[in-house]
Protein backbone atom coordinates (compact mmCIF):
# COMPACT_ATOMS: atom_id res chain seq x y z
CA UNK A 1 0.00 0.00 0.00
CA UNK A 2 1.05 3.60 -0.44
CA UNK A 3 2.32 5.51 2.58
CA UNK A 4 1.95 9.28 2.62
CA UNK A 5 2.43 9.75 6.38
CA UNK A 6 6.02 10.99 6.37
CA UNK A 7 5.49 13.03 3.21
CA UNK A 8 2.34 14.63 4.59
CA UNK A 9 4.19 15.49 7.79
CA UNK A 10 7.10 16.98 5.81
CA UNK A 11 4.63 19.14 3.86
CA UNK A 12 3.02 20.38 7.07
CA UNK A 13 6.38 21.07 8.71
CA UNK A 14 7.50 23.03 5.67
CA UNK A 15 4.46 25.25 5.33
CA UNK A 16 4.10 25.92 9.05
CA UNK A 17 7.68 26.23 10.24
CA UNK A 18 9.79 26.76 7.13
CA UNK A 19 10.90 30.08 5.70
CA UNK A 20 8.05 32.33 4.67
CA UNK A 21 6.75 35.87 4.34
CA UNK A 22 4.12 35.42 7.03
CA UNK A 23 4.82 34.71 10.68
CA UNK A 24 4.59 31.05 11.73
CA UNK A 25 1.76 32.07 14.07
CA UNK A 26 -0.25 33.42 11.12
CA UNK A 27 0.31 30.23 9.17
CA UNK A 28 -0.66 28.07 12.14
CA UNK A 29 -3.86 30.08 12.55
CA UNK A 30 -4.74 29.60 8.87
CA UNK A 31 -3.96 25.88 9.11
CA UNK A 32 -6.29 25.56 12.12
CA UNK A 33 -8.83 28.06 10.74
CA UNK A 34 -8.79 29.57 14.20
CA UNK A 35 -7.47 32.95 15.28
CA UNK A 36 -6.85 34.16 11.71
CA UNK A 37 -6.38 37.92 11.55
CA UNK A 38 -9.49 39.78 10.45
CA UNK A 39 -7.93 40.72 7.11
CA UNK A 40 -7.80 37.09 5.98
CA UNK A 41 -10.36 35.34 8.20
CA UNK A 42 -13.21 35.44 5.69
CA UNK A 43 -11.06 34.17 2.86
CA UNK A 44 -9.53 31.32 4.86
CA UNK A 45 -12.92 30.30 6.21
CA UNK A 46 -14.18 29.96 2.64
CA UNK A 47 -11.08 28.00 1.59
CA UNK A 48 -11.73 25.56 4.43
CA UNK A 49 -15.50 25.22 4.14
CA UNK A 50 -16.30 25.66 0.45
CA UNK A 51 -13.43 26.91 -1.63
CA UNK A 52 -15.51 27.18 -4.78
CA UNK A 53 -17.31 30.11 -3.14
CA UNK A 54 -14.11 32.23 -3.07
CA UNK A 55 -14.50 35.30 -5.28
CA UNK A 56 -12.20 37.89 -6.80
CA UNK A 57 -13.57 40.27 -4.21
CA UNK A 58 -12.42 38.07 -1.31
CA UNK A 59 -8.87 38.23 -2.63
CA UNK A 60 -9.18 41.96 -3.35
CA UNK A 61 -10.39 42.71 0.19
CA UNK A 62 -7.55 40.75 1.74
CA UNK A 63 -5.06 42.59 -0.48
CA UNK A 64 -6.60 45.95 0.43
CA UNK A 65 -6.07 45.16 4.10
CA UNK A 66 -2.34 45.10 3.52
CA UNK A 67 -1.52 41.46 2.81
CA UNK A 68 0.78 40.90 -0.16
CA UNK A 69 0.07 38.29 -2.82
CA UNK A 70 2.89 36.14 -1.43
CA UNK A 71 1.43 36.33 2.04
CA UNK A 72 -2.00 35.35 0.73
CA UNK A 73 -0.43 32.48 -1.20
CA UNK A 74 1.09 31.13 2.02
CA UNK A 75 -2.04 31.56 4.13
CA UNK A 76 -4.35 29.97 1.54
CA UNK A 77 -1.98 26.99 1.18
CA UNK A 78 -1.93 26.58 4.97
CA UNK A 79 -5.72 26.79 5.18
CA UNK A 80 -6.18 24.19 2.43
CA UNK A 81 -3.64 21.73 3.81
CA UNK A 82 -5.03 22.14 7.33
CA UNK A 83 -8.60 21.43 6.27
CA UNK A 84 -7.63 18.40 4.19
CA UNK A 85 -5.46 17.10 7.06
CA UNK A 86 -8.34 17.25 9.50
CA UNK A 87 -10.59 15.41 7.03
CA UNK A 88 -7.88 12.78 6.51
CA UNK A 89 -7.25 12.25 10.22
CA UNK A 90 -10.96 11.97 11.01
CA UNK A 91 -11.49 9.45 8.21
CA UNK A 92 -8.55 7.33 9.41
CA UNK A 93 -10.07 7.36 12.90
CA UNK A 94 -13.42 6.23 11.50
CA UNK A 95 -11.65 3.42 9.64
CA UNK A 96 -9.80 2.34 12.78
CA UNK A 97 -13.09 2.28 14.68
CA UNK A 98 -14.76 0.20 11.97
CA UNK A 99 -11.90 -2.29 11.88
CA UNK A 100 -11.72 -2.63 15.67
CA UNK A 101 -15.43 -3.46 15.81
CA UNK A 102 -15.12 -6.36 13.36
Amino acid sequence: MSDIRSRRQALIERILRGEGLTAPEQRAAAFANSGVTESAAGLISKVVKHASSVTDDDIHRARQSGLSEDQLFELVVCGAVGAASRQHDAALEALAAAVSER
Binding site: S2, L43, A51, S52, F73, A80, A83, L95, V99
Partner: protein, 193 residues
Protein backbone atom coordinates in the same frame (compact mmCIF):
# COMPACT_ATOMS: atom_id res chain seq x y z
CA UNK B 1 -5.71 33.36 -11.82
CA UNK B 2 -6.54 35.59 -8.91
CA UNK B 3 -2.94 36.06 -7.76
CA UNK B 4 -0.74 37.65 -10.39
CA UNK B 5 2.37 36.05 -8.88
CA UNK B 6 1.02 32.62 -9.84
CA UNK B 7 0.64 33.71 -13.46
CA UNK B 8 3.82 35.65 -13.97
CA UNK B 9 5.90 35.74 -10.79
CA UNK B 10 8.14 32.78 -11.55
CA UNK B 11 11.91 32.96 -11.85
CA UNK B 12 13.75 33.11 -15.15
CA UNK B 13 14.47 29.37 -15.30
CA UNK B 14 10.83 28.47 -14.72
CA UNK B 15 9.65 30.99 -17.30
CA UNK B 16 12.04 29.38 -19.79
CA UNK B 17 10.59 25.98 -18.89
CA UNK B 18 7.07 27.30 -19.52
CA UNK B 19 8.15 28.64 -22.91
CA UNK B 20 9.60 25.22 -23.74
CA UNK B 21 6.36 23.51 -22.70
CA UNK B 22 4.31 25.88 -24.87
CA UNK B 23 6.53 25.26 -27.90
CA UNK B 24 6.77 21.47 -27.55
CA UNK B 25 3.13 20.81 -26.59
CA UNK B 26 1.69 23.71 -28.61
CA UNK B 27 -0.65 24.22 -25.66
CA UNK B 28 -0.84 26.79 -22.85
CA UNK B 29 0.78 25.94 -19.51
CA UNK B 30 -1.92 24.64 -17.16
CA UNK B 31 -2.62 26.62 -14.01
CA UNK B 32 -1.74 23.65 -11.78
CA UNK B 33 1.79 23.66 -13.25
CA UNK B 34 2.08 27.38 -12.55
CA UNK B 35 1.05 26.76 -8.94
CA UNK B 36 3.46 23.93 -8.18
CA UNK B 37 6.31 25.80 -9.86
CA UNK B 38 5.77 28.99 -7.87
CA UNK B 39 8.12 29.08 -4.86
CA UNK B 40 8.28 25.28 -5.15
CA UNK B 41 10.20 24.81 -1.91
CA UNK B 42 7.21 26.17 0.01
CA UNK B 43 4.41 24.08 -1.48
CA UNK B 44 5.03 22.47 -4.87
CA UNK B 45 7.88 20.12 -4.02
CA UNK B 46 6.60 18.74 -0.70
CA UNK B 47 3.04 18.47 -2.05
CA UNK B 48 4.18 16.71 -5.22
CA UNK B 49 5.91 14.09 -3.06
CA UNK B 50 2.60 13.44 -1.29
CA UNK B 51 0.58 13.36 -4.50
CA UNK B 52 2.99 11.10 -6.37
CA UNK B 53 2.99 8.55 -3.55
CA UNK B 54 -0.81 8.61 -3.32
CA UNK B 55 -1.35 8.36 -7.09
CA UNK B 56 1.59 6.24 -8.25
CA UNK B 57 2.88 4.50 -5.11
CA UNK B 58 2.26 0.81 -4.47
CA UNK B 59 -1.46 0.04 -4.16
CA UNK B 60 -4.05 -2.61 -4.88
CA UNK B 61 -5.89 0.13 -6.76
CA UNK B 62 -4.88 0.71 -10.37
CA UNK B 63 -3.69 4.08 -11.61
CA UNK B 64 -7.02 4.47 -13.40
CA UNK B 65 -8.92 3.73 -10.18
CA UNK B 66 -6.95 6.38 -8.30
CA UNK B 67 -7.35 8.97 -11.05
CA UNK B 68 -11.09 8.27 -10.98
CA UNK B 69 -11.05 8.82 -7.20
CA UNK B 70 -9.31 12.16 -7.76
CA UNK B 71 -11.99 13.14 -10.28
CA UNK B 72 -14.80 12.15 -7.91
CA UNK B 73 -13.25 14.12 -5.03
CA UNK B 74 -12.85 17.11 -7.36
CA UNK B 75 -16.45 16.82 -8.52
CA UNK B 76 -17.64 16.67 -4.90
CA UNK B 77 -15.70 19.88 -4.25
CA UNK B 78 -17.17 21.62 -7.33
CA UNK B 79 -13.71 21.95 -8.87
CA UNK B 80 -14.20 21.98 -12.63
CA UNK B 81 -10.48 22.15 -13.39
CA UNK B 82 -9.50 19.09 -11.34
CA UNK B 83 -12.59 17.10 -12.36
CA UNK B 84 -11.74 17.64 -16.02
CA UNK B 85 -8.01 17.03 -15.57
CA UNK B 86 -8.30 13.75 -13.66
CA UNK B 87 -11.24 12.45 -15.67
CA UNK B 88 -8.95 12.78 -18.70
CA UNK B 89 -6.14 10.85 -16.99
CA UNK B 90 -8.57 8.16 -15.83
CA UNK B 91 -9.99 7.82 -19.35
CA UNK B 92 -6.51 7.38 -20.76
CA UNK B 93 -5.46 4.96 -18.01
CA UNK B 94 -8.55 2.76 -18.41
CA UNK B 95 -8.73 3.18 -22.18
CA UNK B 96 -12.44 3.59 -21.53
CA UNK B 97 -14.01 7.03 -21.79
CA UNK B 98 -17.56 5.75 -21.23
CA UNK B 99 -16.71 4.20 -17.86
CA UNK B 100 -15.34 7.44 -16.46
CA UNK B 101 -18.22 9.48 -17.86
CA UNK B 102 -20.72 7.01 -16.37
CA UNK B 103 -19.18 7.23 -12.89
CA UNK B 104 -19.20 11.02 -12.93
CA UNK B 105 -22.77 11.12 -14.25
CA UNK B 106 -24.29 8.51 -11.92
CA UNK B 107 -22.04 6.59 -9.54
CA UNK B 108 -24.83 4.26 -8.41
CA UNK B 109 -25.66 3.13 -11.95
CA UNK B 110 -22.14 2.90 -13.41
CA UNK B 111 -20.78 -0.51 -14.36
CA UNK B 112 -17.83 -0.81 -11.95
CA UNK B 113 -16.83 -3.21 -9.20
CA UNK B 114 -18.57 -2.91 -5.85
CA UNK B 115 -15.41 -2.23 -3.79
CA UNK B 116 -14.59 0.73 -6.05
CA UNK B 117 -18.17 2.01 -6.04
CA UNK B 118 -18.40 1.86 -2.23
CA UNK B 119 -15.02 3.56 -1.92
CA UNK B 120 -16.01 6.34 -4.30
CA UNK B 121 -19.24 6.89 -2.34
CA UNK B 122 -17.27 7.21 0.88
CA UNK B 123 -14.77 9.63 -0.69
CA UNK B 124 -17.59 11.72 -2.12
CA UNK B 125 -19.23 11.99 1.31
CA UNK B 126 -15.92 12.78 3.01
CA UNK B 127 -15.25 15.57 0.53
CA UNK B 128 -18.75 17.04 0.48
CA UNK B 129 -19.54 16.79 4.17
CA UNK B 130 -16.06 17.01 5.66
CA UNK B 131 -16.29 13.72 7.52
CA UNK B 132 -17.36 10.09 7.46
CA UNK B 133 -18.43 7.65 10.15
CA UNK B 134 -17.31 4.16 11.16
CA UNK B 135 -20.54 2.97 9.55
CA UNK B 136 -19.48 4.49 6.24
CA UNK B 137 -16.22 2.59 6.51
CA UNK B 138 -18.03 -0.64 7.36
CA UNK B 139 -20.03 -0.21 4.15
CA UNK B 140 -16.80 -0.16 2.14
CA UNK B 141 -15.41 -3.17 3.98
CA UNK B 142 -18.69 -5.05 3.49
CA UNK B 143 -18.51 -4.31 -0.25
CA UNK B 144 -15.13 -6.04 -0.39
CA UNK B 145 -12.71 -3.13 0.05
CA UNK B 146 -9.76 -3.90 2.29
CA UNK B 147 -8.39 -1.72 5.10
CA UNK B 148 -5.29 -1.07 3.00
CA UNK B 149 -7.35 -0.06 -0.02
CA UNK B 150 -9.34 2.38 2.10
CA UNK B 151 -6.14 3.91 3.47
CA UNK B 152 -4.83 4.29 -0.07
CA UNK B 153 -8.09 5.92 -1.16
CA UNK B 154 -7.92 8.32 1.78
CA UNK B 155 -4.41 9.31 0.70
CA UNK B 156 -5.82 10.25 -2.72
CA UNK B 157 -8.57 12.20 -0.99
CA UNK B 158 -6.07 14.10 1.17
CA UNK B 159 -4.14 15.18 -1.92
CA UNK B 160 -7.21 16.30 -3.83
CA UNK B 161 -9.05 17.85 -0.93
CA UNK B 162 -5.96 20.07 -0.73
CA UNK B 163 -5.43 20.68 -4.44
CA UNK B 164 -9.07 21.39 -5.27
CA UNK B 165 -9.27 24.00 -2.51
CA UNK B 166 -6.26 25.76 -3.98
CA UNK B 167 -7.59 25.48 -7.53
CA UNK B 168 -10.86 27.12 -6.52
CA UNK B 169 -9.34 29.75 -4.21
CA UNK B 170 -6.76 30.81 -6.80
CA UNK B 171 -9.26 30.68 -9.65
CA UNK B 172 -7.84 28.02 -11.96
CA UNK B 173 -9.21 28.23 -15.48
CA UNK B 174 -10.18 25.07 -17.34
CA UNK B 175 -7.96 25.04 -20.41
CA UNK B 176 -9.21 24.00 -23.88
CA UNK B 177 -9.80 20.22 -24.25
CA UNK B 178 -6.61 19.67 -26.23
CA UNK B 179 -4.54 21.27 -23.48
CA UNK B 180 -6.24 19.18 -20.77
CA UNK B 181 -5.62 16.03 -22.82
CA UNK B 182 -1.96 16.96 -23.25
CA UNK B 183 -1.69 17.45 -19.49
CA UNK B 184 -3.34 14.08 -18.90
CA UNK B 185 -0.91 12.38 -21.25
CA UNK B 186 2.00 13.89 -19.33
CA UNK B 187 0.61 12.84 -15.92
CA UNK B 188 0.01 9.30 -17.10
CA UNK B 189 3.54 9.00 -18.45
CA UNK B 190 5.45 10.87 -15.76
CA UNK B 191 3.35 10.99 -12.62
CA UNK B 192 3.38 13.92 -10.21
CA UNK B 193 7.06 14.41 -9.34
Amino acid sequence: MRLQILDSGHGLGTRALFAFIRVVSRQPVLDIIKLVKYRPEFYGKPMSAVTHEAMRGPSAWSIGDRELMAAVVAQANDCAFCTSAHAEVAKAAFGDEAKVAAVLADLDAATIGEPLRATLRMLRKLSREGGVSAEDMRDVLAAGGTQEQIQDALAVAFAFNTITRLAEAFGFVVAPPRAMKAGAKFLLARGYR
